[in-house]
């Protein structure tokens, strides 16, 4: 009896939590499908007429394709570079003995502790003198410095958890260090690579301050900047903003769903000892 009550309470709490987290998404979708007029007069949780005007406006009037392309290029490139450099750094930190390892880990983490706003101006001057303002590299490089610590820390932790025996077995089997890295360690690190990749991608996809500061016009603006600049002098086009938010969230959500299978698969395959 008591057990049953407990389960009901637990279930109720879960439902409440789900409503709490999912409601904004629901409302964004509903609002993006409601006409502006209806939205301002009597907004309804159960809209009567679904219209796609806002989405159409997004791609015809506003050229929302360009910011999406920019975001994909910047976030994608940053993620790939972060994973490559981060994996190599993490391998060294996890597997090779050298002096000052703890200090290096500390420095890497310290980078993220600067408030972003405090380094916008110096970074701007730096990028301007390198002629990188309003270019992809001008965004990718700052993103890498901010995303790298997460990559390195998470990957170092997960590589440390992979039994060293496996690489040693590979060595005895005849593999060189590079072979044991690519054929044994890397496949086993795929789940954590996917996880850190997703986190890095999301960070870059949503980043606003640098993207706003280091771009000049719509040519190189990313999705968050573009959405922020939707608002005109006299009105805020909520319908279009929310439609854009939905469009911007979709690729990330899709990516997570794709990789999720991979993550779960990787976790179960990793069981070595019985």
């Amino acid at each position: 009896m008591k057990l049953a009550t407990g389960r009901w309470v637990f279930g109720g709490a879960l439902v409440a939590l789900m409503l709490f987290t999912l409601f904004p998404f629901y409302w964004a979708i509903v609002a993006s499908l409601t006409s502006d007029a209806a939205l301002f007069r009597d907004p309804s949780l159960w809209p009567q007429h679904l219209i796609f005007d806002h989405y159409r406006a997004l791609f015809t009037e506003r050229d929302f394709i360009t910011p999406i392309r920019n975001s994909l290029v910047v976030a994608g490139t940053t993620t790939i570079f972060c994973l490559i450099v981060g994996t190599l750094a993490a391998y060294a930190l996890a597997r090779i003995e050298f002096r000052g390892k703890a200090a290096i880990m500390g420095f890497i983490l310290a980078v993220t502790m600067f408030p972003q706003i405090s380094i916008v101006s110096p970074l701007y001057l730096l990028l301007r003198s390198l002629h990188l303002i309003d270019t992809y590299p001008g965004l990718i490089m700052p993103y890498m410095t901010f995303a790298m610590p997460l990559t390195v820390w998470v990957l170092t932790g997960s590589i440390r958890q992979i039994p060293k025996d496996l690489e040693e077995a590979a060595h005895v089997d005849g593999a060189t260090r590079l072979q044991s890295f690519t054929k044994i360690l890397l496949p086993l690190a795929v789940p954590s690579l996917a996880t850190t990749g997703i986190l890095t991608f999301i960070y870059c996809w949503n980043e606003f301050l640098f993207a706003l500061s280091f771009t000049l016009g719509p040519e190189r603006q990313t999705v968050p900047v573009a959405i922020a600049l939707f608002r005109g002098q006299y009105q805020v086009p909520w319908g279009e903003i929310l439609a854009a938010a939905v469009v911007a969230t979709a690729p990330v959500a899709a990516m997570v769903l794709v990789f999720q299978r991979r993550i779960v698969q990787g976790l179960t395959a990793g069981a070595v000892k019985g």
């Binding site: 496996l166 060595h171 089997d173 395959a269 069981a271 070595v272 000892k273 019985g274």
Partner: protein, 371 residues
């Protein structure tokens, strides 16, 4: 196949821990050498030095006649079976078995042939497409074994390969390993902390303690003539009894004959003893060499504390009048209960004498036991 030899090998870790000290030993061609010792004795380190997974601080390692001291593991052409098997979790059994061959750029047809042959000989055919996570402990053990054999290496190294198996499987696999060794005629070095594994498998056994070789000998030699008190106490089950005592030459006695006085037991032995000085020694007797009986006059008396019936024998724990505790093995039909006063007889062939300070063996032949 080839011999493996360590010549004056030292291994000191950066933190100052000494895992091997002036260690020289050899597993000759086709021999199964067991390295045995308690945890921290450096036996696994020695194996890792042989494999090339650790570098020696000093000394030379040879495989065959080749000096491999500075070669990385992949160039030593040896195979190793790890304690936790270290199967590649993301590969199927087939890929695990073929990994070493494919790394060495063998033709796929050759690899497939060898893998299938090994799988057949180990009864793994049905499992070839499974991942390690889908195998039982015993099956993983066999895959690990197969992965070592398939490459036909110069020598095999085993790092406590049976310790993760349950008792019954351990005995079966032990027999399997012995059979495999005979079939392959391969040089094998086998690390274990389990003395029964060491005694049953080893052509010879090297006993290590704190990185120092204590004795290297055949199982029989090790059991019959342990080189020091440590080896004597480590090999044999139940463990050897030790009683403190002194050697003294009785007045007027000539030559080597010495009188041994232990707490509660006096022995006359043919041991080297110099005149008047008393030499502190330990008497070592295996439980199998102590007879316990209800009758017997003029013999040391002891009180029975615990009796453990084992079916084919019973293990008797007694306390001597001097306070020393002894373990004895008695035949199952002997009627002994806790609290009984029994008499003790030490069989002459079972007497070992060790120097109390150095622990090293003092060769003694019993003259007359008892008084």
């Amino acid at each position: 196949m080839a011999r493996i030899a360590l010549e004056h090998v030292d291994k000191t870790y950066p933190n100052g821990y000494v895992a091997a000290r002036d260690l020289s030993l050899e597993a000759s061609d086709g021999e199964l050498l067991v390295l045995v010792g308690p945890s921290g004795s450096g036996k696994s380190t020695v194996l890792r030095l042989m494999a090339g997974l650790e570098r020696v601080s000093d000394g030379v390692i040879r495989i065959g006649e080749r000096d491999v001291t500075d070669l990385p593991p992949q160039q030593r052409d040896i195979a190793m079976v790890f304690q936790n098997y270290a199967l590649y979790p993301h590969m199927t059994v087939r890929q695990n078995l073929g990994f070493g061959l494919s790394i060495r750029k063998q033709a796929p047809a050759v690899i497939a042939g060898r893998v299938n042959a090994i799988a057949a000989s180990l009864g793994l055919e049905a499992l070839l497409d499974r991942k390690p996570a889908q195998l039982s402990g015993g099956q993983r053990q066999r895959v690990a074994l197969g992965r070592a054999i398939v490459r036909e290496p110069l020598a095999f190294l085993f790092d406590e390969p049976l310790s993760n198996l349950d008792a019954q499987l351990r005995v079966e696999t032990r027999v399997e390993l012995a059979r495999l060794h005979r079939k392959l005629g391969a040089t094998m070095v086998y690390v274990t902390h389990d003395q029964s594994e060491a005694l049953t498998l080893g052509d010879r056994i090297a006993v290590l303690k704190e990185g120092v070789l204590q004795q290297i000998a055949t199982p029989m030699e090790l059991y019959r003539r342990p080189a020091n008190k440590f080896v004597a106490g480590f090999i044999g089950s139940p463990a050897m009894n030790f009683i403190e005592g002194v050697i003294q030459r009785p007045d007027g006695a000539a030559g080597r004959i010495g009188m041994c006085t232990f707490k509660g037991i006096d022995l006359t032995l043919d041991v080297p003893c110099d005149g008047g000085t008393r030499r502190r020694v330990f008497l070592g007797v295996r439980p199998q060499h102590i007879e316990v009986s209800g009758d017997g006059e003029n013999r040391p008396k002891a009180e029975v504390a615990v009796v453990e019936p084992m079916g084919n024998e019973q293990i008797v724990y007694v306390t001597l009048s001097g306070g020393d505790r002894l373990v004895a093995v008695a035949p199952p039909q002997e009627l002994i209960k806790p609290g009984d006063i029994v008499s003790i007889r030490i069989r002459p062939e079972g007497v070992h004498i060790f120097d109390a300070e150095t622990g090293s063996r003092i060769d003694a032949s019993p003259y007359a036991i008892e008084r």
